[in-house]
């Protein structure tokens, strides 16, 4: 049995407290009125000699703006970067430049700044939720495939999914706060978007309202979260019951449950990505978005499994795990990194190539306002793991796996950041206290719930018929 060490528990709690401080400071530092934003914009304008954009962080975006007109459709960009959320913000789109410092611009910036602490929280929550959910799915795949190598890692994976319940509860609260209009991350929820008589009526959103409506969206969220948690609970229970069983009834039951779960999961994962991420940009759509979200969480999930395994092994708790198991996990990290890149690039390249305005705006905005993190994803999520993990010997060295894993996780956090931030805070983004605080909070929660869960059961799933094969596995 693994004992959750007091030191690690203290670290986890400290991370959560530090994170909470960061999150709260994010909420306290948002401007309280449009007047305040106008004041700030005015200051910034004076300080920078009438610069086209208002805030200091905007230098980069402004330069990019000038440089890359050749690439992007001019009109579309003007509309997107400054008007994409206007429908929800009760404003007609102002033309960029002429009225840049008028009331409408200040109000737009005000809404983005108000969104920032919520978005920071949402990005971190979504990332840790996605990782945990995909560990659950990866475990189900191992059961259904009757994999012979991974049995000794089952308790590690089951332990990691112990984070599913807490993180999905927080996520559900965040989502319900959205449908209760406490925050405005989802612009299509704003009152009046589907009312033809309202000033901010949006025909495009109205056309999608059969799917994007608050009651349906809320019910779906509850169904997905309930479904995943029920499977997690039953599968864990059957897995523990198999430990001391004399027959394979629980094993068979778990197998069948996992088959059903994987079918449910593939549908709900796709719909979850439309509901919770793609609908942040309700004018934009992409068919492979669900797979792309799946890939980013899948590679992170395998990385997290590898890192927790290496940690437990270094503490001497996993006597049956040898470097061949680590090698297999590293191969999955390598393969899924390439898979992510394939889907990411396929989505980007098809849209870039056809350059249809209603699709291209999505990437134009990301390229102009988020150039650094957007481009940084390629080395972090593709080139680095490829070069570090291509060598068969390196894949067996725990330090290489941890090193590659840290970069991969940061890279895929960036990916989630780039999916969510442009639609919610636009050009007003910054990687500061609220973002770091939210990451630390969810990291602390993750460590706490994962290692609590791991300490509750023996680290070897004894009753599994493939256990011996897994214990003697070597590659």
């Amino acid at each position: 049995m693994y004992q959750f060490s007091g030191k690690l528990k203290t670290i986890a709690l400290a991370l959560m407290v530090l994170g909470a401080v960061g999150i709260i400071s994010g909420f306290l530092s948002t401007p309280s009125s449009v007047e305040e934003v106008k004041e700030q914009l005015h200051h910034a304008q004076n300080a920078h000699g009438g610069h086209g954009e208002a805030k200091v962080e905007h230098h980069e975006a402004t330069d990019a703006h000038a440089d890359h007109h050749t690439e992007a459709s001019h009109d579309t960009h003007g509309h997107d970067a400054h008007g994409h959320a206007d429908e929800a913000h009760h404003e007609a789109a102002p033309s960029h430049g002429e009225e840049a410092h008028g009331d409408s611009h200040a109000e737009h910036v005000f809404h983005q700044l108000k969104n920032r602490p919520w978005a920071a929280l949402y990005v971190a929550c979504m990332f840790f939720f996605g990782v945990t959910l995909l560990v659950l799915a990866f475990n189900a795949i191992q059961r259904v495939a009757q994999a012979g190598w991974s049995i000794v890692l089952f308790r590690v994976m089951e332990g990691i999914t112990g984070n599913l319940l807490p993180v999905t509860i927080i996520l559900l609260v965040l989502l319900l706060l959205g449908s209760a209009h406490v925050h405005h991350l989802f612009v299509w929820m704003a009152p009046g978007t589907v009312d033809p008589t309202a000033a901010n009526y949006d025909a495009i959103i109205d056309g999608k309202s059969w799917w994007l409506n608050v009651p349906g969206w809320t019910i779906r969220a509850i169904v997905y979260i309930a479904g995943w948690n029920i499977y997690r609970h039953l599968s864990r229970k059957a897995s523990l019951a198999q430990d001391n069983a004399t027959d394979l009834v629980n094993y068979t039951k778990n197998f069948k449950m996992s088959v059903a779960f994987l079918a449910f999961f593939l549908f709900t994962e796709s719909m979850m990505s439309w509901d919770w991420i793609m609908s942040l940009d309700p004018h934009w759509f992409s068919t492979l978005f669900g797979w792309y979200v799946l890939a980013t969480f899948l590679v992170s999930a395998v990385t997290v499994i590898a890192m927790v395994t290496v940690y437990l092994q270094s503490k001497g708790h996993l006597e049956y795990v040898n470097d061949s198991h680590i090698h297999d996990l590293a191969k999955f990290m390598f393969g899924f990194s390439v898979f992510w890149t394939y889907l990411w690039f396929s989505q980007f390249m098809l849209i870039w190539y056809a350059d249809m305005p209603e699709e291209t705006t999505y990437f134009v905005q990301r390229f102009e306002e988020y150039k650094l993190p957007f481009l940084l994803m390629i080395p972090m999520n593709f080139i680095f793991p490829i070069l570090v993990l291509i060598n068969s010997d390196y894949k067996r060295i725990p330090n290489f796996v941890i090193g590659a894993g840290v970069v991969v996780l940061l890279g895929h956090y960036t990916d989630v950041f780039i999916m969510i931030m442009p639609a919610t805070v636009g050009g007003e983004w910054f990687f500061g206290l609220p973002e770091i605080g939210a990451i630390l909070f969810f990291l602390g929660l993750f460590i706490y719930s994962v290692f609590t869960s791991i300490s509750k059961a023996p680290l070897l799933a004894k009753g599994n018929p493939f256990l011996h094969e897994s214990e003697t596995f070597h590659y």
Binding site: T70, E71, F345, F348, M349, W352, Y353, D355, I390, S392
Partner: protein, 174 residues
């Protein structure tokens, strides 16, 4: 001077593995082992060095990637930068996404084909090459270990018969 070798034949891969380990323990050099199928762990037991084929493939892949970058840059950007459907051709990077499929395929093409050719050359395999199997049964159901004799014929024979060889032949090699 005569080049005599002893051919020990086995009919089971497990017995062969044990025999190889025993012979290696006596520090006797094994010239070659012929098997009808890959025997897992045989190379390790014989102490053969690890193959470097994967490293050559990586380098060939880099060659293919460089070739693709050079080719797309020369053809599409340097030589005749036409406006084709509004694609930006002011620099290679601006049009890079359109070249990625070619870059990927040429990397794979170079890595795969050159590695295979390297394998053929290193293994000395080509069409019309005379087969080198010392006993036709080694392609079907027998395993053969070849050891050179250096004035120790009897000693070798008794060692090999101990290891469970079903047949031991001494052969003059030219």
């Amino acid at each position: 001077m005569s080049n005599k070798v002893v051919h020990a034949l086995y009919n089971d891969d497990d017995i062969l593995m044990d025999a190889v380990k025993k012979v290696k323990e006596k520090h006797i050099h094994i010239e070659d082992v012929f098997t009808p199928f890959p025997v897992h762990g045989l190379d390790k037991a014989m102490g053969l060095p690890h193959t470097k084929l994967a490293i050559t493939a990586f380098l060939y892949g880099l060659t293919g990637l460089s070739f693709a970058i050079w080719m797309t840059n020369y053809m599409m950007i340097q030589d005749w930068p036409q406006d084709i459907g509004g694609k930006p051709n002011f620099s290679w990077f601006l049009n890079m996404p359109a070249f990625v499929p070619i870059m990927f395929e040429l990397t794979v093409f170079f890595a795969a084909h050159l590695m295979v050719i390297t394998f053929y050359m290193r293994s000395r395999i080509w069409p019309f090459k005379a087969a080198e199997n010392p006993d036709v049964r080694t392609t079907d159901d027998h395993f053969l270990m070849e050891i050179a004799i250096h004035d120790n014929e009897e000693e070798l024979k008794s060692l090999l018969s101990e290891t469970g060889a079903v047949e031991i032949n001494v052969i003059e090699k030219h």
